[in-house]
Chain length 356, copies 2
């Protein structure tokens, strides 16, 4: 906990001054003011994060936290639990969705076993296994305090390592059968909204299984008596190791003033926990796509972020981050490369101000 406290104390806001200077520069470019909408906002926000007016993305990485969830024994998922281990190994083989999309985006991936139920020995997968999956939250807390802190620290460690290696844009992904269940539980635990609003069909449940999933989550919240005012309490009792690991990623990204992209429903659950722990982390978060899970929109509203890709995706793994990276990089190029009224006038006197 000491290490986590140190990081929490070291998180400061993005620079308002640099954001204002970036916005002034943006408003001087050859376009009607504000006409590139959110693209302008992303660029200005990143300037505020890094404290620099000119930013170039040189190295990108999507962190994939893989872990199993004890609640699977309640039959909340359409997929067998073994898929977590199988797909975690598949990430090393270049054949998964996030592999294809991160290659397309020119991004690396970092796979972290933070609690997969099975033995994984592979140099390409960082082993930070807290346990062979969480306990079943429908009968008691998903994890102990010590386990939770260990998972959070794993995320912090990974981000620190990447930042030290010069990565300047991060993404958050996950793999864990049953983790839409834990994410919905975290959302309900933190906000008190109903299962009708917070729970979706995950990878594809039948009507009956969907109803059962909602009942299991309600039972978990009831059994565990979570304290909505304490994000650590909610995370520990009804979260997952993957979510906890990603919480560590968001906290450390803010600490290191490095932009971090949120993927879908599970990443957003972690982002919401991190935001509740320290609202300043929001300054370093960039939303990507609108997940098909119904609770996702509530999470974005709670944090106050605006996703910009609407593809009805619900695969997870960090796939939305990979698609968003290209837009994030484009936003910075707008600020760096577009002509401005003043600059061009000095060149040849030909241009007039096209701003409205």
């Amino acid at each position: 906990m000491e290490e986590i406290k140190k990081v929490l104390a070291g998180i400061t806001s993005a620079s308002q001054e640099i954001k204002e200077r970036a916005l002034k520069k943006m408003d001087g470019l050859l376009k009607p003011i504000g006409s590139l909408g959110e693209l302008e906002n992303i660029a200005v926000r990143i300037c505020g994060m890094t404290g620099k007016l000119e930013n170039t993305i040189t190295k990108k990485c999507i962190i994939i936290m893989a872990a199993d969830n004890g609640v699977c024994e309640e039959g909340v998922s359409a997929c067998p639990q073994e898929i977590t281990q199988i797909q975690t190994i598949n990430f090393t083989r270049g054949i998964t969705g996030v592999n294809v999309l991160s290659r397309h985006a020119g991004s690396d991936i970092r796979i972290v076993d933070v609690g997969v139920n099975g033995t994984i020995e592979d140099d390409r997968i960082l082993s930070r296994k807290v346990a062979l999956g969480t306990q079943n939250m429908a009968v008691g807390p998903a994890m102990t305090e010590e386990q939770m802190y260990k998972a959070i620290r794993a995320g912090m460690e990974v981000v620190e390592g990447l930042v030290m290696k010069g990565y300047d844009l991060l993404g958050t992904g996950e793999m864990g059968i049953g983790n839409t269940t834990s994410s919905s539980a975290v959302l309900m635990g933190l906000t008190g909204i109903s299962s009708e609003l917070a729970v979706g069909r995950g990878a594809g449940l039948s009507d009956e299984a969907f109803l059962h999933k909602k009942q299991v989550i309600e039972r978990a919240l009831d059994v565990n008596r979570v304290n909505p005012e304490d994000p650590f309490d909610v995370l520990r009792k009804v979260g997952g190791f993957d979510i906890a690991g990603l919480v560590g990623c968001f906290l450390a990204a803010a600490y290191h003033k490095t932009p971090v992209v949120i993927d879908g429903f599970i990443s957003s659950a972690a982002a919401l926990v991190a935001y509740r722990i320290n609202p300043l982390v929001k300054d370093y978060m960039i939303a990507s796509h609108i997940s098909a899970e119904p609770g996702f929109t509530v999470m974005m509203k709670e944090i106050g972020l605006r996703p910009f890709l609407d593809l009805g995706m619900r695969l997870g793994e960090g796939t939305g981050c990979a698609l968003a990276f290209s837009v994030v990089e484009a936003s910075l190029k707008i600020l760096n490369e577009m002509g401005s009224f003043q600059k061009e006038k000095l060149d040849d006197g030909f241009l007039v101000d096209i701003r409205s």
Copy 2:
């Protein structure tokens, strides 16, 4: 008109058979069925367009139709008309929004002067000038039949040239002060919806100027008595040369079975005209971003397309296409590069079916 008739007669649907085969392949990949949402749909649709199961984008181009609008003399725009010419020349200098974003996307641009009010002599700008801007539609038809066909043919010619050179993904952009006015008029002329729903503030009008813009458009529709059943009649009387040029692009792209991305409000007006001329062209269109102009959503609903980028952009130029290109390419890579259950099982017998 003969040339246009020939193209219209030569347009056929995308291949339903190839789409079905592509969907079957997509459903066999290592992911829950449908979990990549619209990304899957785009890939499947492109297979149907080209008639091939494996598609790789090798050359991309955004076509920018530049033209002036006579209706500007009514004071409908926040920008002076000269900006059309200035910005058209700026496209050759690499400093505009679409320059930056197309470089980022690895796309070329093709600038076409289809009716700019001024002399432009530059090898890098294709001269297909129909006139020095349209006539003022608030007092009579914007153009003659001959002028309209000339502009449409210009678009068709450009697409044909690009297809012959091996371009396999096209985008549609434009530059023309006053063209949100003509686009709103086209939308109202074709659908009969009110100016409240169809007209926006363009590059940034005051309340008073916004009211005036709506009145001017209503007058134009009144004076010209457009026939909503005849898209050519609507285009000729209240459209613009840029819109007509883009209509030609959409028709020719469908004829050549080449995917063409729609940008924002003006491109969508052209797409709607083309769709009304021949509904089959829809098969070859891909929507990109949700324009900030209010009438945009109506256009998408009329055609039946689903944009996937929501950035509140309203710059035009083809900027939304440039951002969308990366997603379109990503969709094809998913189909080409992701592992499938069957294939991987044959390799090492390790993988199980992770599909729900």
